[in-house]
């Protein structure tokens, strides 16, 4: 249960700035996911926390101690690598024991810890095999065992599931989550998979181009993205962005955008749930962001319960059934938006359909800075 602090950390290779001042503060027992596309610097940051990469500027602090100059082995951290990085010449048992052996743990203590860890990860039957004789999922477990056995202060995971097939990835995700629940160790986990990030994290840091765009719990990142990039990166399908204008609308403010329906082209005005926040944007262009599940088929019963649900008609362009929902593509304000529609209430492409927008989940963004209003 270690407290990890990253203070304004930078990393540059000559004129290339990989990390441009990263700061984060992680309480003990948190599960931080660094989420971002390849090349955003997330793995570099992880390697710097591990001590495998030098720090150009800034400080990394573990439990109050600045570890910039501390050798990786003395930081009391363990890391699980993307390629698993098992020692190919050693059996599973020796792989797990190697770190203990290097730290001078006596043999009987080693045996006890190996037995405990392998039972926890259900790899006891594999202990005498070489890594080459294991499947991807088994290697993943051994790699985790090697990290777990030392009982480190912080676990680092570098895209650990990206080499597994889809089904196994879901299983291992659940196991990592369970493991974190049981051990309560501080974890920093790097991934480009936003579903992994949402399911595992207690804190997500969405990164792009060497900066953290947003650092928040997963639900906050999902519901109130700090900018359009985060809204578009997290969520599948991503958030809909509709170019719109804030207009006065009787008893409050609303967003107005164009929408084709019933053979014609008209304006739709949806009242904002929180007009006060958008007060200074009156009569100005904004980007109106709405999650696909907040844009659904009209349902009278539901519309009457939800205070901020508003209906409007819109022409349907494309239907994509996914089973649970049918993704319905419509054109709002000149850009494509996706609605999650009950498969029993869909219509044919080209027809007009009555949609319902839940404005309590709406976000507004500044079109020039792309930041949340």
């Amino acid at each position: 249960m270690a407290h990890l602090e990253v203070r304004n950390v930078r990393k540059s290779f000559g004129d290339t700035h990989v990390l441009k001042g990263i700061s984060l503060d992680l309480a003990g027992g948190e599960f931080l996911v660094l989420l971002g596309p390849s090349g955003c610097g997330k793995s570099t940051l992880l390697n710097m926390i591990a001590g495998l990469d030098s720090i150009t500027d800034g400080e990394i602090v573990i439990d109050g101690r600045v570890v910039n100059a501390v050798h990786p082995k003395n930081r009391d951290i363990a890391m699980v690598f993307q390629s698993y990085a098992l020692y190919p010449n050693m059996t599973v048992k020796k792989n797990i024991a190697f770190g203990l052996e290097m730290r001078g743990v006596p043999a009987d203590e080693r045996a006890r810890l190996i037995a405990k860890t392998s039972a926890l990860l259900q790899i006891d039957h594999l202990l005498d095999r070489k890594p080459a004789q294991l499947s991807g999922g088994q290697r993943q477990r051994v790699a985790m065992g090697r990290a777990l056995v030392r009982d480190p202060k912080i676990f680092l995971f570098d895209e650990p599931l990206s080499n597994l097939d889809a089904k196994l990835r879901v299983d291992m995700r659940t196991e990592i989550k369970k493991l974190h629940g049981r051990l309560g160790t501080t974890i920093v986990y790097v991934t480009h998979d936003q579903i992994e990030a949402m399911t595992l994290a207690t804190q997500i840091a969405v990164m792009r181009g060497g900066v953290i765009e947003q650092l928040a719990p997963p639900q906050d990142v999902y519901e109130t993205p700090a900018n359009m990039y985060v809204g578009g990166f997290v969520g599948s399908p991503p958030m809909n962005f509709v170019p719109a204008t804030v207009v006065d609308q009787g008893n409050g403010l609303g967003v107005r955008f164009r929408c084709a329906a019933n053979g014609g082209d008209g304006d739709v005005v949806l009242p904002l749930a929180d007009p006060a926040a958008a007060a200074q944007w009156k009569d100005r262009e904004v980007v109106f962001g709405l999650r696909p599940e907040a844009l659904t088929d009209y349902n009278e019963a539901e519309a009457s319960i939800r205070e901020h649900a508003h209906a409007f008609d819109c022409r349907v362009d494309v239907l994509e059934p996914t089973g649970a929902d049918t993704l319905t593509y419509v054109e709002l304000g000149g850009s494509t938006a996706i609605a999650r529609v009950n498969p029993r209430r869909t219509t044919r492409p080209g027809d007009t359909m009555r949609l319902m927008a839940d404005m309590s989940h709406a976000s507004l963004f500044d079109p020039s800075t792309e930041r949340r209003i």
């Binding site: 890391m79 190919p88 290097m102």
Partner: protein, 314 residues
């Protein structure tokens, strides 16, 4: 017979009417691949295995300048050990082999590890170290003969520079001349070992080494416990290649010392040449050849066997 095979192969290839009726063409098509391989197969059979057999037979006869086929049994294999020349050759081979393999491996590994530190101009350095391997042993031998010759080489250069007390005349010293051969051979082969080991080192996953750092292993422990065991097959390959190079060494010795001074640097291969073409003792030449072949086979056969077996398993 090879000409025949080529002609019929061509006929089958073009579907020529000259190939005869459908039955003959069908037969050709079924056996074409065998016919094409046949000439080289026959050549290998006769010129490799045929002459190996012939050499074995000669080693069992009392041949002198010309082969005779009067079998004397294993007498030659006993008598050859009475020749001090053969004894010198075997001793030299042993000394040379151990030093050559040991030093080439040690130096090659050292160079590879140093080059593996992501240094600048690595490509150029790698080429420089590997380059001696591209030179024939005759050239190596001649160049080193000049370098080591006290009258024109290193010793003279030092004297000219003013260090008149400098002496380096191993090449003329019967006790030390064999070490000059080791020197030249190591110079030639260590770059090759370096290239093999470097390639293997590069094949070790970076993340494995990072994992070992985090596991608390020192650099020495990382090499000893992880990297070297991981690349062990390469050491075996390098060892086998160096070993058979050592046993077959002939041209280097001929160019550098001509087995001299006297017979001080003779090795089994020069012994064989000498017996066959200078001393008119074809029987001893064949005997020494068979003994060298047996030694090489004793190393290569188990190696090939293990390689093929692991190939099947993998």
């Amino acid at each position: 017979m090879p000409a025949d095979a080529v002609a019929s192969a061509r006929a089958a290839d073009t579907g020529d009417a000259g190939a005869g009726d459908a039955g003959a063409r069908g037969w050709l098509q079924r056996h074409l691949s065998k016919l094409v391989v046949a000439p080289s197969f026959a050549a290998a059979l006769i010129f490799f295995y045929g002459f190996i057999l012939w050499t074995v037979i000669i080693s069992l006869t009392g041949s002198r300048m010309l082969p005779s086929y009067e079998i004397v049994g294993f007498e030659n294999y006993v008598n050859i050990w009475r020749l001090s020349r053969w004894e010198t050759a075997v001793e030299n081979l042993f000394l040379f082999g151990v030093l050559f393999m040991g030093l080439s491996m040690a130096l090659g590994c050292l160079l590879a590890v140093l080059l593996d530190q992501r240094i600048r101009a690595e490509g150029a350095l790698r080429t420089i170290y590997l380059y001696p391997m591209a030179i024939s042993y005759i050239v190596t031998g001649t160049a080193w003969k000049w370098l080591l010759d006290p009258g024109i080489g290193l010793e003279k250069a030092m004297h000219d520079l003013g260090w008149t007390g400098f002496a380096f005349n191993w090449i003329n010293d019967p006790d030390m001349a064999i070490y000059t051969i080791v020197l030249a051979a190591v110079w030639q082969a260590s770059g090759f070992v370096m290239a093999m080991v470097l390639a293997a080192l590069r094949g070790v996953d970076d993340e494995i080494i990072k994992a070992a750092w985090l596991d608390g292993a020192s650099l020495a422990n990382i090499y000893r416990r992880i990297i070297i065991p991981t690349i062990r097959p390469v050491f075996l390959s390098a060892f086998v290649i160096l070993m058979h190079l050592a046993i077959k060494t002939f041209d280097l010795v001929m160019a550098l010392t001509a087995a001299g001074p006297g017979t001080a640097t003779s090795v089994p291969a020069t012994f064989m040449y000498d017996m066959a073409f200078q001393r008119d003792r074809l029987d001893f030449a064949a005997t020494s050849a068979v003994m060298m072949l047996a030694t090489v086979a004793a190393i290569i056969v188990p190696y090939l066997y293990s390689e093929i077996r692991s190939g099947k398993r993998g």
